[in-house]
Amino acid sequence: MKKQIAVVLALTTAATMLLAGCGGSKDSSSSSSSSSSSSSEAIQLLNGKPEIDAQMQELAKAYEEETGKAVEVLTIGGNETASSKLKELYQAGEMPDIFVLEANQFENWSGKLVDMSDQQWTEDTDVEYVNEEGTLGFPYMVEACGLAYNADILEKAGVDPTTLTSPEAYKEAFAVLDSKKDELGLKAVVGYNVNATDVGWSSGTHVFGQYLDAGLATDDTTYIDLLNDGGQLDSDRFTAFGEFIGLLNQYTDSDLITGSYDDQVLGFASGKYAFVTQGSWIGATLTGDDKDAYEAAGSFEVGFAPYAFEDGINTILNEPTSFWGCYKDGNVEDAEAFLQWCSEDTAQKMFVENMGFVSPYTDCAYTSDDPFAKPVTEWLAEGKHSTYHTFLKKDGLQDATSVIFQNYAKGQYSSAAEFTEAMQETITSYYANN
């Protein structure tokens, strides 16, 4: 009996030791991120864009081939946010050395990020993230957001997109397109998706962002300051914006009130909408998932028109939507070396040609075959760009505002003034209660 117990105990011990061994090995791999002592270990990068995971892995491989230093790319899943993933990793003591951050998240990590103002790459770009702690965000792409249009259809209908700089011009253009819907093969003039459940980020963050920034200089913070001061809206500007949204509601495809993002992009790729309320990021889908539809529709040219809800608005939002930050307690030296490499030739070629990004670096010599690369570069070159102050609004505000956008599309408000009133009430109570 005793012997048997002894055997069992011995076996259990062995098993636990084995388990402990496994735990130990995991520990050692993760601690590579927290200890800065050895430079031969891989640096880790948290990538917030699941759609470019494969390309990022290639980028890491290219870096390893060139310098012999490994980079491990962690990519978030389609359904999680980078910020919650990052907090999870932080709690587990497995912080990556480089991670993705949106503009409003820098404050959360205050004191934990590296000031990179001494880096070479800062001289080649002017859209890096800077605050009072220094240069904290490395820009890796520029994304543009305006009213994307199908240039071929506009040309056929005789609408000149460069004239779309006032509400009146839009009214006329939409009416013309609407009257020629059948001959142009359109389902609706605009593909404006207001599904609050799945695409709430589009109306709540990007479309709303037009109210905050359209037509303004990049350093103009009038409306975001007003918003962050207890959730105030400028009622004149917002009512004008509301009128414009009303116009979109009038000419949109009603299926998109509860439709999916995929439906919206596919509709645009197939030439069923003349305009779509998405930004340059759909370019990758046009040449990727929706390739067949896009080719069948004649691989049309695309462009951006401004959200001209007031006369003379002629800018689109055209800046990085997220940045890479460096963790202070991580492997700073290697991380900075990697970021410097990312701003240089080999990596820029991969960013532009494989990932379809528009480069934020002035010395980048490559152009992407992404359909939106050309219009984005043109708008940038002409200097007609505003920034994404929309990412500085209170966390999660888009969940509330997107419902109001949807209500408006459903016809719950009879006028722009009512829409403005409802929006103002929702935002004020959001700021007061959260």
Binding site: L9, T13, M17, A20, T81, I257, D399, I404, K410
Partner: protein, 354 residues
Amino acid sequence: MSGNSSKKILAPILLVVGVVSFIAALVIDFMELGYEFRGSLLIIGILGILLGLFTLPTEKYHRNIVNFVFLFPLLFTFGVTVIIPLILGIGYSFTDWDGIMVGNFVGFDNYVKAFQQPSFLYSILLTALFVVINMILVNLVAFLLALLCSSKMKGVGFFRATYFLPNLIGGIVLGYIWQFAFSKALLGLTEKLFDLNYSILSETKFAFWCIIIVYIWQYAGYIMLIYITGLNTVPREVLEASAIDGANAWSTLFQIKIPMIASTITICTFLTLTNAFKMFDVNLSLTGGNGSVQNFMGGSLTNGTEMLALNIYSTAINKNNYALGQAKAVLFFIILAVVSIVQVRVSNKKEVEM
């Protein structure tokens, strides 16, 4: 004898080594010294303590020690995965934790704030309504299915399996399947029926019922199985006797079967109750908690279909307010604990009566 004397030496050595390495491991971890062997050290320590206890040359406490040694793995796991997070969570709810750092101790601020939020109060009410409706409907549907599936028809096993199947699909997947059904497949029908030009999932009152339908579809099969088991325990003699006395199917059901399975009904009622409270995955994937509500406590809301669990999640994750979410989670825990304690009390009473 020699065994005993060697034990006398071995036991204290093992105990001392165990305690020392256990404490050393904890110290290394708390001081963040970063030695990687601390995990192994902790386990060696625990094993040392256990072996030391086991070999203690005592007759009096030997049984207790053996009990402890065998219970230890479970208690340890329970402690690490349930008790410690619970205590930490309650602690965090009194601070301004943002998921990264604890800044200040704020007392009951988070709790006060939670109760001042109309959206949170709305979620509590909505969840209560959802629980009551579900408790009734799930049980009703499940009982009817059980009656059907306990008949002596051919192929009844197939039907049982079919009804049970939805329960095996994860809630998230299920939510997306039904989202497709409501916003694509059934779109034409519901648009005509309710005179809408969009999916019923975007109309708060309908969306709420959509969640209920999906939940019943998911859960009724499971409860049905319990009812079938209950119905099968009704003694054959009683049924035969009632048949001889001339009872028809209707009175057999109400006079014999239902009273005989009263305890099953209690169990099922509480199962559905606690589970409906914890509703999360279908809620998240079907509507995301969205929905416009006019005139609730003098204002309008945008979280018309958000149940309690989802409200906690979105407070912490989407609104980046971890401490407030944690406070709400503690309240949620209290509600569930009360319900569970009542459940245990009631079921115990029933058992005595039987």
